[in-house]
Amino acid sequence: MRILGIDLGSREVKIVVMEKDKIVIKKKISTMKFYRDYCSFDGKVIVDLGKLDIGEIDRAVSTGYGKNNTNLKLFTQINEIKAHVYGAMYQTGLKDFILLDVGGQDVKVIKVEKGITTDLELNEKCAASCGRYLENMANVLEVSLDEMSKHYKDPVELNSTCAVFSESELIGSIAEGVSVEKLYAGVNYSLYKRLRPLLSKFKGKQLILAGGVANNLAIREYLQNDYSEIISIEEPQFNGAIGCCYYGSRFLRED
């Protein structure tokens, strides 16, 4: 049986196809492009599976960022919390963990005990603790995200709570001649500082990192002090889509 899982993120749409519990296809399409080039609208969003070029599909499950239209025609829609938990369970085999998912525009912290979600916290107020913030700051610094994410030592202080104010604060530091390494580390550290209060309610041993920001080495480094073990998953950005497939294969009943 082939199952399609789609996670409609704020920046990118992640597409995974699973066959017999194995991932056989993975692809990312920018959110704009996905809706524009792969979908039509008729009361509900209709995905042109032919254009996606993923072959025959038996079941399709979708999830996504809360404010988007993630209810696709012919898809079973599941909430993003569940999708990410199932993704993490599939990828780690763990049943008890804390999942930190930092995406393009939102942050989720989820506690899982005995394989079931028991607590969660979402940050929907401001994107200053999300991937988009890192992107903006990298643009200001004219550096790639990958390069910026490697630096964690000796961060410059950035104290603004707002993403826009942080930019001017950063520019102030650039003008003062602070080294680029310190600036890179400063950006990473300021994101970590905003995540910390959210995580303080979620003490535990094992933390699974997911979402695009999981690729940020500096954030991982900082988190290391707060948890006994930081567990990285191979496909942090595909976690939600993988969770959709997992749901489709384990729980979805044939109608």
């Binding site: 569940k82 079931i116 028991t118 384990r250």
Partner: protein
């Protein structure tokens, strides 16, 4: 007119009824009152700390506002805050009779405490036993309602909660309450079973947030077990040889291990899928959650209530996420 006596938690009520008192569970007055926040406020104005369980403050306010002149204060086996609560009530001129559920949880020690209690109220063991036999008739009726809940699915979780909990004071009148139980049973038997996807157990002290019952039902789940409420009703009193055994075989005030044995039995018998463990903010019982989660091989969600008498948005979200995944598992099996 019988003299009223306030209770801070369930005590050997047989003794009080024999002595000619009408027991009033202060918890019930507090939580069913529209003035429940006012009661908490009264306590805080009199100096009770913000960071103290809302039940204690509510009991205090309810006691003062409802003209209760005498109370039984449980100084061992319930929460240690009660000890301080009764000191303040004494200061307000309220007569306090102490009672203890001994930590040792030894039948002999339970007997000693109950005998002390009988002496305070000047009643004999024989007359208490007669009352016990009388009250056991009501306990059997409550047990029947409980069975109609989990065996026939004809009673919803909230009704079950209310009927079981009311046996702590028989709503102030044994005969009237017996009739209302009988009426309820005959009405319930006519009903069609309520079938919901997920079967939940409610454990921990009764909730400040009574709407939890309705809320879980909206998620296609229902409570088929109310742990402490059921203990307040003493379903096993009928088989106890005497009052000492009855209050010895009571899981609420003693250690967690003893409580867990009964929980395991009930989870099995009632085919419970998962447990919602309610704890009150600032209560030591939240720590027991660690032991319960370890010892019970079933998903457990710990939720906490404070002053609000309705569920907050965050707790609702947690319940939703928890029940959503339980439904998945149920579907898969």
């Amino acid at each position: 007119m019988l003299k009223k006596i306030g209770l801070t938690t369930t005590v050997p009520v047989e003794v009080l009824v024999t002595a000619g008192y009408s027991p009033v569970d202060l918890n019930n007055i507090f939580i069913t009152s529209e003035d429940y926040l006012k009661y908490i406020d009264i306590a805080e104005r009199d100096g009770f700390p913000k960071s103290l369980c809302a039940w204690i403050k509510g009991i205090y306010g309810a006691c003062l506002e409802n003209d209760i002149k005498e109370i039984v204060g449980v100084v061992e086996g319930d929460c240690s805050n009660t000890r301080a609560l009764i000191e303040v009530l004494q200061l307000k001129g309220i007569k306090v009779y102490p009672f203890s559920f001994p930590h040792s949880h030894n039948l002999k020690d339970v007997e000693i405490e109950i005998r002390k209690f009988m002496n305070i109220f000047n009643v004999t063991e024989e007359s208490v036993e007669q009352t016990r036999q009388r009250l056991n008739k009501l306990r059997e009726l409550a047990k029947e309602i409980d069975e109609l809940t989990y065996l026939e699915n004809k009673v919803n979780g909230f009704e079950n909660h209310i009927y079981q909990i009311s046996l702590s004071d028989f709503n102030g009148n044994v005969d009237n309450f017996e009739n209302s139980l009988k009426d309820a049973i005959s009405e319930i038997k006519q009903r069609k079973p309520i079938n919901r996807k997920v079967r939940l157990g409610y454990i921990g002290v009764p909730p400040m947030t009574g709407d939890i019952y309705e809320f879980v039902e909206s998620l296609d789940a229902h409570f088929v077990y109310n742990e402490v409420q059921r203990e307040f009703a003493f379903p096993r009193a009928i088989t106890a040889k005497n009052i000492f055994e009855q209050y010895y075989d009571y899981t609420y005030p003693y250690n967690t291990t003893f409580r867990i044995n009964e929980l395991k039995k009930q989870i099995e018998e009632r085919k419970i899928d998962a447990i919602i463990h309610y704890t009150q903010a600032f209560c030591y019982r939240a720590v027991e959650d660690i032991v319960l989660k370890k010892q019970l091989d079933i998903p457990i969600l710990n939720i906490e209530g404070d002053k609000l008498n309705v569920l907050d948005a965050r707790t609702k979200l947690r319940l939703e996420a928890f029940i959503d995944m339980l439904s998945d598992l149920k579907e898969a099996n």
